[in-house]
């Protein structure tokens, strides 16, 4: 039997939420949801885990801090110490207050850009990438739920279709792949 993909369209976020709850409670696994804006509360229903991007950002920022500490020590203390207005050029820790602004800025720089790059790579959103939403209306005012037979081994395509039709569907498209 060929695998089938159901693209179930709803015209309201509340209808989508109700449908997702109803289908999931009947044991259907929802593969993905395409929506024009974040639908709050949907993630736990369809089993999307919390992202770890914030942790990544913290690690990038810490790397930035360490690099800035190393840089200021290397440039100002180790490689070419200079007497600037009598500021201590022989010890990093004594000169450190003057380096705080650069350390802070560089931490933010690395934290923000590292996270942004990770975000683009993880999402697969890069310049020139093709869009993968099944219907152009999902970036306007429609919400599409994607269900595949492959992930719902216990049920036949007809059973799934019946369950879907029990929700407040706006449009349904079934494709084989």
């Amino acid at each position: 039997m060929a695998n089938k993909v159901f693209h179930v369209m709803y015209d309201d976020d509340q209808k989508l939420m109700d449908a997702a709850r109803a289908l999931v409670s009947k044991g259907i696994r929802v593969k993905d949801v395409f929506s024009p804006f974040p639908v709050h509360g949907l993630d736990p229903v369809i089993g999307v885990k919390r992202t770890r991007l914030a942790i990544a950002s913290f690690m990038y920022a810490t790397t930035g801090t360490l690099l800035a500490i190393f840089g200021t020590w290397y440039f100002m203390i180790h490689d070419w110490p200079m007497n600037i207005g009598g500021k201590p050029s022989f010890s990093w820790i004594e000169n450190a207050p003057a380096f705080v602004p650069v350390m802070f800025e560089f931490s933010v720089f690395c934290g923000a850009h590292g996270m942004a790059l990770t975000y683009f790579l993880r999402n697969g959103t890069l310049p020139g990438m093709p869009a993968s939403n099944p219907d152009p209306r999902t970036t306007d005012d429609k919400f599409v739920m994607e269900i595949v037979t492959e992930q719902n081994g216990g049920m036949s395509a007809a059973e799934i279709e019946n369950l879907i039709k029990g929700t407040d569907v706006y449009e349904l498209s079934i494709k084989e792949y």
Partner: protein
């Protein structure tokens, strides 16, 4: 679904559906360019070209083309720099700080405020970069390995901190703005019919598809970026103020500068946002999204920050006397009674007295009055920087070295030119980019939309 208290005023007026929001924001991009826009763009472009001409002349001739002299070695250049950076601050404040405080009214204004930030910071960067003289060697400010006897930039210097602060601020604001734009570009991409335009927005939208996981990441990234952009915005203007505060010049050497500069920046930034938005909402018919309530909220921020600035002016005066340092005291006496006292009183009137008019509800909810006052505040904030910079240095310790500053034609041309470049960029943004965060607005439609609130009250 979250319900909002019924006594809160609606943020989106009239009855709108999700599709209406898309139509209202994307419609103007699809249609032909309006005549008013073409006229405004032509005027801005001519001024911008004049500015670019002045900059080219400056680079070819040298910094002597400015009116600087031995005593006043810093004048309009740094005044314009601080003024533009200050204006830039409102965008990040609106998008980051108001996001952390969950202020939903930010959604109607954050996109254009952030665009304003980015263009304003670009204009700010023009001044220090061209003040270097040999601008092609601007990369010397970066700690790059080199053959000049291993000469590194001086990390003890506030000017070096500025290089890091401004470049971080600019690039982080740009990324923050662009991440928010991607889903909206995707909306435009999916609506466009003309293949050329579709291709253009397709590239800009990075292939955004709006999957559930993408949105989870989007919200997390927005929140974390807001969290780190908030201290960033405070640090940037603090560092700008340290360009002065860490020096030993009477009138500059004051610890009050960082908070005073930051509130001044927010003050002038909100004024500029108001100036731009009041025109934009009218010409692009966004009255349903940006209305009196938004303007009133922004005016309240202006009262608060304007009053902080006022208190800072008076504190400075008091401390200059209380310190017992006669040079310090003289710097301030000279400010309000010396040859530049006209600029001091101009600053006092525009920044301290005029925003107090917003205590009257009639005035702060009047759009015409707000527009006029927002321009007054912008003028006042330019004079604040001029007062701090020029009056503090034009009378040196030795009376033989006293001098005055007279701007040259190039000084004026460059300043006016940056305003032209700024408006050119902003007009292009208003024409080709989604001017409101339309997909974010859809998330608040059912809580804060007028018709939905009325519907909810019936139940």
């Amino acid at each position: 679904m979250l319900k909002e208290a019924s006594i809160r005023q609606p943020l989106i007026l009239g009855h709108k559906t999700y599709h209406d929001i898309t139509n209202d924001i994307v419609g103007p991009i699809e249609g032909p360019a309006p005549r008013q826009w073409k006229i405004a763009l032509s005027i801005a472009a001519v001024i911008a070209l004049y500015g670019i001409g002045c900059i080219s002349y400056l680079v070819a001739t040298g910094i002597g083309a400015w009116g600087l002299n031995k005593t006043v070695g810093w004048a309009w250049d740094i005044t314009n720099f601080v003024w533009w950076v200050g204006i830039g601050h409102a965008g990040t404040l609106i998008s980051a700080v108001l996001l952390l405080f969950r202020q939903r009214w930010r959604m109607a204004i954050n996109r254009s405020a952030e665009a304003m930030t980015i263009f304003a910071v670009m204009m700010a960067a023009v001044f220090p970069v061209f003040h270097m003289g040999r601008v092609w060697q601007a990369y010397w400010t970066l700690p790059l390995p080199n053959q000049f006897g291993s000469l590194w930039p001086n990390f003890n210097s506030a000017l070096m901190w500025d290089v890091f602060a401004i470049s971080t601020y600019f690039s982080v604001s740009l990324v923050f703005w662009y991440i928010g734009l991607i889903p909206d570009f995707a909306t435009i991409r999916d609506r466009m019919v003309k293949p050329g335009m579709k291709r253009f927005y397709s590239i800009l939208s990075f292939g955004w598809s709006g999957r559930a996981k993408n949105w989870t990441r989007f919200e997390e990234v927005s929140l974390v970026l807001a969290g780190i952009a908030t201290p960033l915005v405070f640090s940037v203007h603090s560092i700008v103020s340290m360009d002065f505060a860490t020096s030993v010049v009477p009138g500059w050497h004051t610890t009050i500068f960082p908070p005073y500069f930051v509130s001044g920046a927010i003050f002038s930034g909100f004024a500029m946002v108001l100036t731009l938005l009041l025109i934009m909402r009218k010409t692009m018919r966004l009255e349903a999204y940006i209305h009196v309530r938004h303007v009133e909220y922004m005016n309240i921020v202006i009262i608060v920050t304007g009053s902080i600035v006022g208190v800072a002016y008076l504190t400075e005066l008091f401390i200059s006397w209380y310190s017992g340092v006669e040079y310090e005291a003289y710097a301030f006496i000279n400010r309000f009674s010396g040859p530049y006292s006209w600029s001091y009183w101009m600053m006092m009137t525009c920044n301290v007295i005029s925003p107090q008019l917003f205590w009257f509800k009639k005035i702060r909810t009047n759009l015409a009055a707000t527009f006029v006052l927002s321009i007054v505040v912008n003028i006042g904030m330019w004079f604040e920087r001029f007062v701090i910079i020029v009056t503090s240095i034009h009378r040196d310790y030795v009376p033989g070295a006293w001098g005055e500053f007279h701007p040259s034609g190039i000084d004026v041309g460059m300043f006016v030119g940056t305003i032209g470049i700024f408006f050119t960029l902003f007009l292009l943004f208003a024409r080709y980019f989604p001017v409101l965060a339309l997909n974010e607005l859809k998330t608040i439609l059912k809580m804060s939309g007028e018709s939905y609130k009325k519907e909810a009250e019936k139940h």
